[in-house]
């Protein structure tokens, strides 16, 4: 599949006399293939928004290469801008204009037919409130307007930074459906969000960034599989057999944690080997359930941002890729 978004070794450094040097992006790589819904994840201050701003020409990079729809950017941005719809960070609009005026002015600037304004207002559910000033809108409504503005030019690539921010549960579900519909129509969607459950539900692939560097990427299933601990929960027909089972499994090199009515196993490659091993000991399994990891636990693990009781984690306290005692990135090179 051709890539619609490619980033290679992107660097951005902020220098300040008072605060010293900070690498917002430190050799960041990313690739998004055509037709995908791609999740772009990272803790606060990890470089997500800086990446998107740099990609869209708002920030000047210090190094690296970027391409959108096969064109090197920022040089070719004027050529591809008409095919890239984007909202970056929180939606920002002139508060005294109505939603229709706002979109109409953008359509005028981008030479988009005026009829498209009503189409996108309908699409994001703002048709009946389009004549009201933006300053009267809730955050969720502004978010819808932002998505509408990004959709206005019927982009091939849609980049949305926190599109579900401020949306009510119904709105989040509508947004999810909209993303899927857009992807099915051939549009590529890059979605930055902290609602990891949503990302897991709607994204085909993800890139996880931490401290300006990619720490994981690829199809969601693969990323989850790569970080699955191989945990399995088993129950036996007779609870009294649990100590025997523990002994047998430990002998076989499996890490076992005992519980009153079940055992938790770690480091199990093939769950079938557990049933075979126990059956050979005349111990019969009544339940065997692989414990699936979710994106949230993978994210917290990779970015080292899981809350620790009694500690107040600061914004930039996150995992440094390749740092001492830390695991390396989940993959290397381009793409999955």
């Amino acid at each position: 599949m051709p890539a619609v978004l490619e980033i290679e070794g992107l660097r951005k450094t902020y220098k300040s006399r008072r605060r010293g040097t900070r690498n917002a992006l430190d050799g960041f790589d990313m690739r998004v293939d055509a037709g995908q819904v791609h999740g772009f994840l990272g803790p606060n201050g990890s470089g997500k928004t800086t990446t998107l701003r740099t990609l869209l020409g708002l920030i000047r990079p210090d190094g690296g290469r970027m391409a959108l729809l096969g064109h090197e950017v920022p040089d070719a941005l004027p050529t591809v801008a008409g095919q890239v719809g984007a909202i970056v960070e929180s939606p920002q609009f002139f508060p005294h204009f109505t939603a229709r005026d706002t979109l109409s002015l953008l359509a005028g600037a981008g030479e988009v037919p005026a009829t498209r304004v009503d189409e996108v207002l309908e699409l994001v559910g703002l048709r009946d409130r389009a004549g009201e000033r933006v300053k009267t809108y809730s955050l969720g409504m502004k978010q819808r307007l932002a998505v509408a503005s990004a959709l206005l030019k019927k982009p091939k690539l849609l980049i949305l930074d926190e599109p579900a921010n401020g949306l009510d549960p119904g709105g989040i579900r509508e947004m999810r459906t909209l993303m899927r519909t857009l992807a099915e129509s051939g549009m590529t969607v890059v979605l930055s969000s902290h609602i990891l459950g949503e990302i897991q539900l709607i994204c085909d692939s993800v890139t996880i960034i931490s401290l300006g560097r990619r720490v994981a990427f690829g199809p969601v299933d693969e990323v989850l599989a790569q970080h699955s601990s191989g945990a399995v929960r088993i129950r036996l027909e007779a609870v009294s057999d649990l100590p025997l089972a523990t002994e047998a499994l430990t002998r076989a090199g499996i890490r076992v944690t005992g519980h009153p009515d079940h055992l938790m196993l770690a480091g199990v490659d093939k769950p079938a080997s557990v049933t075979r091993l126990l059956a050979e000991q005349n111990l019969y399994v009544s339940e065997l359930a692989p414990i699936a990891v979710d994106l949230e636990s993978v994210f917290l693990e990779l970015t080292a941002t899981a809350p620790v009781p009694g500690q107040n984690r600061q914004v930039d306290e996150s995992m440094k890729v390749g740092g001492a005692g830390q695991p390396g990135p989940a993959g290397g090179g381009w793409g999955a």
């Binding site: 920030i59 941005l77 890239v84 970056v88 204009f97 002015l105 953008l106 005028g108």
Partner: protein, 338 residues
């Protein structure tokens, strides 16, 4: 072209633009109406009455000087004329001649188009320049502070083109208000002169001079609009331009004026910006140094003078526009947008 049209639409849709323009035009209208009601057409009866009042004034002056001369001589005879109240020679106390008391002093105010209209173009340009400055600053400043500029750059990633197109739309809008306002200003004062004064003596040369002053006024409006726009773009906020102007006027002008005056600097006004704005409109401003004395053949003491011309003002305005707009364009091209 679509961006230009869109920016023109955006300018017109902004409430601030509408209200400020309306306010500016209302102030201009108030000036015309005020001049209309404070002037009168002079008829023969009023002229005769003024002559009579001038005669009366002359008689009073004669009476008063005679009284004072008598008092002077009395004081001199009594030897009490040493307090400096009277001159050494009492005959120096004389009444002014009759022709020194002019009848026009006793006439009500009347609007002489040829003599006065030129001066009215100064407040016209000043009011519209202020309106243009504030609208220009707000037009781009609000775009920066509300994120509108970032949105626009996502659509049109050519930064300089976007900023210059915005400026072109702004100047077009301001010109679209200023030119009809100037025509109405001419027409309004022509009407005032017709009904409350005189339009005598208007020649093609006078008209040409008025037109040129009007053109310089329009240029001043456009220059200040551009400076307001550029300052707000530089600071990414309307307040940057407004604050900058307050700082320049209060600290840079009043403060500098006081400092120069305390230091007894010759031609202190030559360091103050309003002098150049005035010179731009009136073609020449002559500054005088009252601490100097240039003796004439007749024994008079004339102060030294210095002329500030509209050509010098044009250099200052050009340099100001180039530096401030250049800085705004450079910043637009170079800086990160967040």
């Amino acid at each position: 072209m679509s961006l230009f049209r869109t920016e023109l639409r955006r300018l017109g849709k902004r409430r601030f633009t509408r209200y400020m323009t309306l306010l500016g035009l209302l102030v201009l209208a108030a000036v015309v109406v005020g001049v209309f009601f404070t002037n009168q057409k002079i008829d023969a009866g009023q002229l005769a009455r003024a002559e009579r009042q001038a005669d009366q004034q002359y008689q009073e002056q004669v009476r008063w000087s005679e009284q004072e001369r008598a008092a002077c001589e009395q004081a001199k005879a009594a030897g009490t004329a040493t307090d400096g109240r009277y001159p050494d020679d009492c005959s120096m106390i004389t009444a002014p001649s009759r022709d020194q008391i002019e009848a026009r002093w006793f006439l009500p105010s009347t609007f002489d188009f040829k003599e006065t209209f030129d001066e009215t173009l100064i407040p016209f340009a000043a009011i519209l320049a202020l309106v243009g400055f504030v609208i220009g600053a707000s037009f781009v400043g609000a775009e920066w502070s509300t994120g509108g500029m970032m949105n626009l750059l996502l659509w049109r990633p050519k930064r300089l083109t976007v900023l210059l197109t915005k400026l072109a739309a702004l100047l077009t809008g301001i010109l679209a208000v200023t030119l009809p306002a100037a025509v109405l200003w001419f027409a309004g004062f022509w009407a005032v002169a017709n009904f409350r004064g005189s339009t005598k003596g208007m020649t093609s040369g006078v008209w040409q001079s008025f037109m040129l002053t009007g053109v310089r006024g329009v240029v001043l409006v456009l220059v200040l609009t551009t400076i307001g726009f550029a300052l707000a773009s530089l600071g990414r906020h309307t307040a940057m331009a407004l604050g900058g102007v307050v700082a320049v006027m209060v600290v840079g002008q009043f403060g500098l004026g006081i400092l120069l005056s305390m230091a007894s600097v010759r031609f202190a006004e030559a360091w103050l910006l309003p002098t150049y704005a005035l010179a731009w409109m009136t073609k020449t401003v002559t500054l005088q140094d009252w601490n100097s004395c240039n003796a004439t053949y007749y024994g008079e003491c004339k102060p030294a003078t210095m002329d500030i011309t509209w050509q010098q003002s044009s250099i200052l305005l050009s340099v100001g526009v180039v530096v401030i707009l250049g800085a705004a364009l450079w910043a637009m091209r170079r800086r990160d947008i967040s």
